[in-house]
Amino acid sequence: MKTNFLKLMLLALVAMFTFASCEKDDNEPSKWIVKIGAQSNTSIGAFYSLSEKKIYNQTDAFNNQAKIDLVCFYEHDEINNRINDMTLSSPGANIRDIFTGETDVMNYTTKNLTTITPTSASSGAGTLPANTQSITVEQFDQIKQGEAIIATYFNSTLTSSNKKAKLLVANDIYAFKTQDGTYGLFKVVAVSEPKNASGWLQFEIKTYKPAV
């Protein structure tokens, strides 16, 4: 009886070791995914600090202006022909009539400008401007954080229409350069449905900061 019990235990042990050694490799780096709210979203803030990887609400963002690199908003104004829908921009982009009150970005004393240029044709980007290096979703997914190639997708020759990414939908990819010279790519992962001022935007970020 005792021998049978020992044998059973041994069998269980072998099975346990075998399963334990059968772990999946965990080499894949975690993705940098941000979910940001539009201006009327009461649960997710609309302001993002890349250096801190942190979402701020409007009041806290106002108190940390120098850290804010990206701002999300929704705008669909057919009367004034401001059809931006879900948009990613920055405090330095002169965003008017979106936020209200004393903590409106228009009242910032430090307005970081993140310039944003398209990398793939889309409804928001239209046709790609000259000197644009395009990127596919597959290529974006291959690129690793911190790779120098990230900077090459930013179109530094573009001097207008480079302050916001509008009409964002899943799989749109844009390149950006922050006020402090960090280059990046973001790919839209998802947009809230319905899209409105209470909605949200989810995107994946990859950045590269050249050595000074």
Binding site: V14, T18, S21, C22, N131, Q142, I149, T152, Y153, S156
Partner: protein, 301 residues
Amino acid sequence: MYRLLIVCIAVTLLTNCKKEEEAVFPPIVALKSTDDFTSNNDEIPVGGKIKFGIVATTGSAPITNLRITRIVNGQRIKEIDHGLFIKNRSLDTVHSFVKSSAEMELWEFFVMNANRDSAIITRTVLLGEGSAYGAISHYPSLKIGMQNNSQYPNFVDLHTGTLYSSGNISGHEAEIDIVAFVYQTSGIMSPTLCCPGYTGTSSAALHYPEISSWSVRNPISYDYYSSDNNLVDLQKFESAQNDSLLVASFKPGNISGLCKYCFTDKIIPFKTADGKYGLVRVKHADTVTDGYMELEIKIQQ
């Protein structure tokens, strides 16, 4: 019986423990557009500088090859063909060229990794108005000794035309572009131009052992094909007042850091490590190891 059961279960579990197949990615190649890099459809005058910043990811295996080809009127000119081994980081390199007189040049950038997966990107460069040929430096007579010659210095700094010998080279090693020696090859004694960075079987360090200890050993590219076939006209060389002839003479198809058979009256196109084009005319070349060479050199400023 129990033992057999245990073994069977263990084998079954282990064979079920398959590793998931890893996805295989090709490299990605892109060109820098910032600063003074050449963009697509840029118009550059003949003789003007074309500058590309090439960046590539490895994909699933180390990068092993970078090839840059200039395509003019259907003719493919291989400008760069470098074997590499870049693992766990990006390829990030800058290469400069000179605009030819062709109305349109198509540039092709090819990157391959160890899986033989590759990526290609192209750029078009158009001919701009006027010319951008640059000034040159001219050194009418530089006498350098072969390896056993103690009368003349042995090391040439092409950027200033300064000559150094073993006695005063210390502190100037990084400035040296040319050394000369004589050795027997294919049955004949060959006056030879070389460079500190050449690592072939007849390297400069073989004849000047101190070069092995230099921390910077500049390479140079001699267009030996143009030299062997006397493609550069002496009269044109003598009348060259700008870098037009220097740039046009250099053909990247047959180049080496070693140029054999540099006999008297040979004219050899070259390109320095920092991209300066030039021509060296051999005014005199001995074929003995204690002899000397007299060179006349024209090089881009």
